[in-house]
């Protein structure tokens, strides 16, 4: 925290206040001084005017008129006048001189008539200097330094406005006219007060004033300093404590006063205490929460480590992308397959990391890639693809699943495995199956055709021989059926069967199959019933696969019907699906074996009893085909009452699929 410069503020305050006080005092002093000075002058002037007027009144103008020459100065009139003046001077201490003057022909020169002053050794040097003598009769006097003097002849009583000096000294003088009985001014009275006295008085006053001001100048700052100290000390203490409080919550303001500062300090201390308690509690809680968080973080790390260990130990490569299509996770196996470290994949789009080709080697566009498809179409995509990157082209089996949380797509996860080895095994298996089936079929064909030839030429055979021959034919047919079923199963499992795309009229197809299967139904006298749409149902699909579905289901229905029973076939269009229903009134499926009827090689106990020759592959093959065509198959059955199989196929048709083998 930045320290506040309290001194600077204090100094400024002191200086400002001091300056203010000094200005006020100085102004007051000057005002006082001026008032006093003008008061003193006024007193002096009044005194001068009073003395001058009274003197003028007591002087007999006639006697004064009689004094005209030097000789007249020795006369009684002159003496009497002088005596009067002297009395007036004595009666008014502070008066230096009282004198009478008359006009001359010169405007600024007057002549003395008489003066109250005698010659006097003022400086005490034993001799009378010129300026120590009184004025002579008819002594001329230059009055330009005393401008009011001339005015008196205009019959006014007046005083000089300032102290003026002549050879006798400096004076403040007052004047009054002496008027004869005709009203004419014949002379003037002059009264002098020594200027030095006024000046020195004024000087003393100024000195006293300066002394007072000086004392104030010295004492006032001191007073101000201590006063401000008194005021600012608590502020300083409070400020200091507050600034320290940030670093130390135990800081308190030690101020024992009853005023507002005391209240501030008390309130602050209370607040500090509250804060300290709160802080301590908070610290405890923070400690507790920190520990809890550390625990959570530790657990999360452990979980993450476990997860990573788990993900890394999975044999399949895994890549997770966010909804923008950027990689957010890739496990060790993904690194191995793609030949890239996960840190080089994170944050990138998968098309920046590798290319995808379909199983026939056609490069997929961005939107066709399984991961993007899963993300945009919000469905699981799986299949065989090629993963192509810088150094190699690896066959992979991919499953891409969208990650959806409350209807919001969060991203997608790609699980893939290198199927190079699987492909090799598949190829070997395919070749083996192909070869085996060929090798098996060749002797079967020979047996079959020779039995055929024999049965055409059976005239000479005994009944027993004929029966044997039939059994051979029948067994051969079973064997052929079994080889076919096995081969189809293998192809279905390997995904190598192909789906053709042709326009098939399902109604016609169903009719044809019913016709084909009629001989079989006649054996047990089973009636075939049908319910088809009036119009043709044109369906885009593989006629062979569709025929296989009908054949298998109808053959089963007939096979497992009771004598004289009914088999019912329904083919209808119910948008968006096509529904195929095959119902019988046969032996039904027992409750406990219902779950297993689509299992490969499984044969229900009651079915084995009825017909020992089945392969246990028919329903398995149908279910696999239907599901490959994006359809569904389900059944409803009651033991000894019958079974209904229902197949739904999307009316848009089957997806075309290239494959190496056809199902037959």
């Amino acid at each position: 925290m930045k320290k506040i410069k309290i001194i600077s503020f204090k100094t400024k305050l002191i200086l400002t206040l001091e300056l203010l006080v000094i200005i006020i005092l100085t102004t007051l002093g000057i005002l006082t001084y001026n008032i006093r000075q003008s008061l003193i002058r006024q007193v002096s002037e009044t005194k001068l005017l009073a003395i001058a007027s009274s003197t003028a009144a007591v002087i007999d103008s006639e006697k004064l008129s009689s004094v005209q020459t030097e000789v007249d100065t020795t006369g009684d009139s002159y003496r009497e006048i002088r005596q009067t003046l002297k009395k007036i001077k004595t009666a008014n201490p502070g008066i230096d001189d009282v004198y009478l003057m008359k006009k001359t022909v010169y405007k600024n020169i007057l002549k003395f008539i008489v003066s109250a002053s005698d010659a006097e050794d003022k400086n005490g040097n034993g001799s009378i200097e010129e300026n120590e003598q009184g004025a002579f009769f008819e002594e001329e006097y230059e009055i330009s330094a005393f401008p009011e003097m001339a005015n008196v002849f205009n019959n006014v009583v007046t005083t000089d406005k300032k102290i003026s000096c002549d050879k006798w000294g400096c004076w403040l003088s007052g004047y009054a006219p002496i008027i004869d009985k005709n009203g004419a001014v014949i002379a003037i009275v002059g009264v002098d007060i020594p200027g030095e006295e006024i000046i020195s008085y004024e000087k003393e006053m100024r000195k006293a004033l300066l002394e007072i001001l000086g004392t104030i100048f010295i004492l006032f700052p001191l007073f101000l300093f201590f006063y401000l100290q008194y005021i600012l000390r608590p502020i300083s203490k409070i400020t200091k404590s507050i600034s320290e409080f940030g670093g130390n919550l135990k800081t308190r303001i030690n101020l024992n006063r009853d005023d507002e500062f005391g209240l501030i300090a008390k309130t602050f201390n209370q607040m500090a205490l509250d804060l300290e308690i709160l802080y301590t509690q908070m610290e405890k809680r923070v400690d507790y929460k920190t520990k809890e968080l550390a625990e959570i973080a530790k657990r999360a790390l452990e979980e993450k480590a476990k997860e990573e260990a788990f993900l890394d130990s999975v044999g399949e490569g895994m890549i997770a992308i966010d909804k923008e299509g950027k990689v957010i996770m890739a496990n060790k196996q993904a690194e191995n397959i793609l030949g890239k470290l996960s840190e080089n994949m994170l944050g990138k789009r998968t098309d920046e990391i590798y290319n995808v080709e379909d199983e026939f080697g056609k490069k997929l566009l961005k939107g066709e890639r399984p991961l993007q498809k899963a993300l945009f179409e919000k469905r699981k995509i799986s299949g065989k693809y090629y993963c192509v990157h810088a150094v190699s082209k690896i066959p992979v089996f991919i499953t891409a699943s969208p990650v959806i949380c409350s209807d919001e797509i969060l991203g997608a996860i790609l699980v893939f495995r290198d199927i190079t080895r699987e492909n090799e095994i598949d190829k070997a298996k395919t070749e083996f199956v192909s070869l085996a089936s060929h090798q098996l079929r060749t002797p079967l064909s020979i047996i079959s055709w020779h039995s055929e030839a024999l049965s055409e030429d059976r005239e000479g055979f005994s009944e027993k021989q004929k029966t044997y021959l039939e059994k051979i034919s029948h067994a051969t047919k079973r064997m052929v059926d079994l080889v076919r079923a096995l081969l189809n199963t293998t192809r279905l499992e390997m995904g190598t069967f192909s789906i053709d795309e042709k326009e098939v009229d399902l109604v016609k197809l169903a009719e044809d199959i019913l016709e084909d299967i009629k001989p079989l139904s006649l054996i047990q006298n089973i009636s075939l019933e049908k319910k088809f749409s009036d119009k043709a149902i044109i369906f885009k699909g593989d006629p062979q696969l569709l025929a296989m579905i009908f054949q298998n289901l109808l053959a089963n229905a007939i096979k497992y019907s009771k004598r004289d029973g009914k088999v019912f076939l329904e083919v209808i269009k119910k948008s968006p699906n096509i529904i195929i229903k095959v119902a019988d009134q046969g032996i039904g499926i027992t409750e406990k074996q219902k779950a297993e009827i689509f299992t490969r090689f499984f044969r229900a106990d009651n079915a084995k009893e009825k017909d020992a020759e089945g392969t246990g592959l028919g329903l398995y093959i149908i279910k696999t085909i239907v599901e490959n065509l994006s359809g569904t198959i389900f059944f409803d059955s009651a033991e000894n009452k019958g079974t209904t199989f229902t197949i739904t196929l999307p009316e848009v048709g089957m997806p075309k699929k290239e494959g190496t083998r056809k199902l037959i």
């Binding site: 079929r441 060749t442 020979i446 052929v480 190496t660 083998r661």
Partner: protein
């Protein structure tokens, strides 16, 4: 091996002797004249020499297999138009497709058909 006369003549090309014989007997019984060959090489030669109405051709055979023979046959002016029934126990789609591209009338899996059915089919082809 050649059955003389003006009867309907067919050529059976198959490496399996038992097959050839029983089938030949069947066709003979049904009034055909039959030419037999045990591999593709022989089959091609016989075909070009005897100009049968229909050729029944197996696939897996030594020396020259059925597909190679078919290819060569289709290069011949006469051979290019002769109907061929692929009669085999092979169900490899690639090979069937290949044969179909070269031109065959019918693909019949031996084990799935009776000889009588094969004869019927051949008759239908000839009658066309």
């Amino acid at each position: 091996m050649t059955n003389s006369g003006n009867q309907k003549k067919i050529l059976i090309v198959d490496d399996e002797e038992d097959m050839r014989e029983i089938l030949s007997d069947k066709f003979l019984t049904c009034g055909f004249s039959v030419v037999l060959a045990k591999d593709g090489e022989e089959g091609l030669r016989m075909a070009l020499e005897s100009h049968p109405l229909v050729i029944l051709l197996d696939i897996a055979m030594p020396k020259m297999d059925g597909l190679q023979m078919l290819e060569k046959l289709r290069h011949d002016e006469w051979g290019n138009n002769v109907p061929v029934v692929l009669l085999t126990n092979i169900s490899d789609m690639q090979k069937i497709d290949e044969a179909q591209k070269l031109g065959i009338q019918e693909y019949m899996l031996k084990a799935e058909w009776k000889m009588a059915q094969i004869v019927d089919r051949v008759k239908e082809i000839i009658n066309k």
